[in-house]
Every structure is written in C-alpha cells, then in structure tokens.
C-alpha cells in the first residue's frame, strides 16, 4: 500500500504535539531576529563607527550555513561555559541567523526615509535620538513589514534543521515515527503538507498586510 490512511490518522496527534514545538521555535526565533535585527540597525545609525563591524558580522552570519551555526552554538557553547538545551541553542542560532537578514531589511527601510525628514526634525530642534525614535522609525518600519513577513516564513521553513540536534520538532518526530514503523511516506508527507499549508496561508496574509500598508500610505 502506498498511502495508509489509518496510519496517517494514527500518527497525527504525535505530529500535532511536535508542531507545537515547531511553532514555539518559530515564534521565539523570530522575536529574537526581529528585535536583534532592529537593534543592530539602530546601533549603526546611532553610532556610525559600529557600521563596519556590524556589516562584517552580518556578512559572516549570512555567508555560513545555519546548520553549522546551530552545531557551533550547541557543541562549542559548552566549551566556553554556555550550556544550553537543544531547543534553546537551536532557537538562539535561528534567531541570530535571521537577525542578520532582518537588519538588512530594516536598513533598507531607514534608507528609504528621505534625508529631508532628518532635517525637518533637526529644524524643530529635536535631538538625534528623539528624531530617530519618534520621526524616522515610525516611517521606516511599516514599508518593510511584508519583507519581514517573508523572512518569518523562511525562518519557519528552516526549523526542521533543529532535528539535527535532536529537538523533538516536526521533522525529528516524523523521522522517529519512520524508523519505528519503517513507514516514512505518511509522516514526511504530512510534515510537508503542514509546511505547505502554513506557507500558503502566510503568503496570503502577507499580501493582505501589504495591501493595507500601501493603502495606508496612499491615504
């Protein structure tokens, strides 16, 4: 039999449990990515001298595989006294990896705000910090929300990498089910369908948000 419905239904609860871990890792990882990314971008605007090191760091993180970064945090961490459980180490690695991408997105957002906005704020005698947080930031963020959304989806689709350090997320659970039952078709296909469903829904949501934002700008 190529596809066993009874088996598929039988394993659904276990996969459901695992999906919670996947979603957890996604949410925590993206929360870190979004805040750390913004922090990096604000830092390079507030202290121009940090721009070069940040650029180099971002380039380094983006140029090497996430899987290796997960391994490094998980295996090298303990050597320097950073003992983390697999889920935390993995989520941290994912968050840092995507922070590098997010910081580039934010940067584009800030660069798209016309220089004249800085000058207008200066003319009103606002100090640089206030101008950045109250005038520039609110204009820089909304246009890049769809791009951030795309990275959220990308991050979500990379959570199966956590299976490499035995986090019991969807992929790892599917593999365990497979090795127990010698049936890989149902678990792996179901995991694929889960990702496909979530991605299509997110894509639709992002389009909606995008439409909202462009409307907001026009208004």
């Amino acid at each position: 039999m190529i596809w066993d419905w009874a088996f598929a239904i039988e394993i659904l609860p276990r996969l459901g449990q695992a999906a919670i871990v996947t979603v957890q890792a996604t949410v925590m990882g993206f929360a870190l990515a979004a805040t750390l990314g913004l922090g990096l971008t604000l830092a390079r605007i507030a202290w121009p001298r940090t721009a070069l090191p940040i650029s180099v760091g971002v380039e380094l993180v983006r140029s090497t595989p996430l899987l290796i970064q997960i391994f490094v945090l998980y295996f090298v961490g303990p050597e320097i006294g950073l003992v983390l459980d697999a889920l935390t180490a993995g989520t941290l690695a994912i968050g840092v990896h995507y922070a590098a991408y997010c910081s580039e997105v934010y940067r584009a957002g800030f660069e798209a705000v016309p220089r004249s906005q800085w000058e207008a704020a200066e003319a009103l005698n606002l100090n640089r910090g206030t101008a950045l947080m109250r005038i520039i930031l609110p204009q820089a963020i909304p246009p890049v929300i769809p791009a951030l959304g795309n990275y959220l989806v990308a991050l979500f689709k990379e959570t199966p990498l956590l299976s490499a350090i035995a986090v019991l997320e969807l992929m790892q659970t599917a593999k365990i089910i497979g090795s127990e039952s010698f049936r890989y078709t149902e678990p792996i296909t179901l995991v694929g369908l889960f990702f496909l469903g979530m991605s299509l829904i997110s894509a639709a949501l992002i389009r909606l948000v995008e439409a909202r934002i462009t409307q907001g700008v026009r208004r």
Binding site: E59, S63, P160, L161, S163, G192
Partner: protein, 240 residues
Amino acid sequence: MGVTPLAIMLGLTAAALWWLAGHEDYRPFMPGLVEGAAVTMRITVAGAILAVAAALTAGLARLYAPAPLRWLAVTYVELFRGTSALVQLFWLFFVLPQFGVTIDAFTVAVLALGLNVGAYGAEVVRGAVLAVPLHQWEAGLALNLSRRQIVARIILPQAVVAMIPPWGNLFIELLKGTSLVSLITLADLTFRAQQMNQTTMQTGPIFTLVLLGYLFMSLTITIGMRLMERRAIRGLGRRA
C-alpha cells in the same frame, strides 16, 4: 558591501585558513575537511546548473506557455517554495524508495536542492522578464520577429542584468543548503565536521575551519556574481 571590502574579507579568510592549516591543532583535520569541501562544491555546482535550468523553464512557462503547462509551472514553484528544503530532501531520500524508486544520495541532494532553489529562481526570472518594458516587445513585433525570437533574443538578454544580483543570493542559499545533505549521509563539509567532532571532540578547531571554509566559498560566489553583474551592465552599454 562593495566588491573591495568583500575582496578584503576573502583575502583575510584565505590567509586565516592558510595560517591555521599550518597550526598543529588544526592540521590533522585539513585533509578530511578539504575532501568534504570538494563534495560541497560538486553539489553546489550541479545544483546551480539544475536550478538555473528549472528556473528558466518554469519562469518562462509561467509567462508564455499554454494553460496546462503554466499550471504545472505554478504548482512546481508553489510546492517547492511552500515546503521546506529539508522536508524535500528527506522526502526524496526516505519516501521515494517506498514507491520503489531508489536514487543515490548525491542525485537526491542535487535534485532536492536544485529544484528548491530553482523554484525561487523561477520567480526571479519571471520578475526580471516582466520588468523589461513592453515597448521592447512591440519593437520586436514591428521588426517581424517571432514570439520565440523576441523572448530569446530581445527580452531575456535584457532581463539577465536584473537577474544576476538575486541569483547571487540564491547561489549562496544553495551553498548553505548543501550542509543539509550531511543529514542524508553524504560526506560533505558539514558531515566531515560532525564526524570528526564526534571522534575527536576537538569542537573549536574543527568548526572554526568549517566556518572559514564556507565563508571562503560564499565570498567567492558573491564576488564572482558582482563581477559578472558589472560585465553584464557594460554589455548593455550603460556606463557602470
């Protein structure tokens, strides 16, 4: 970043690798890691060729093919973009054999990664083609060129310039994605690192070398694509 800082980073990376390779804590790992890097490069190159072919086919089919082929292209793109690369890799590796189709791990790796990146590439191709002004079509029609000739000789050559930077990013994603093949037992750079790590527990030196190795390959791709972009822009006769 501009080409010059990237080239400096590449130089520093190469120098660091060179220096570490002579260091006794690192030297023993070099031969194995170099072999692994060779596998990584082979998968990257083969995957890139497949990705470009798949992207051109699907991207152009989505624009110009009759309905059934167009739907096929859309399905391919959505399917491979919507599921995760690792899921695709495992599906081909674990599930296909249950249908009686067995392919060796290297082919599975190239297929999964190439088709995955190709799906994103198809959207790049489509976007770049759509960005060529409609005027160019009409000028081609007025010269009595056929649709096929217009696409191949007028539209695509102009679209190429806009495609190069996003393809640069996709090739980097592909290179990084090859690390997943370690999970289907292919002895790439990541696999070797894992293996040596388990036997020697020399985590620090091993992963330092591996990170530098990937960095070296990534920067080479990035710089190569930047130079290619410059050439392509010059080919358009624009002053770069």
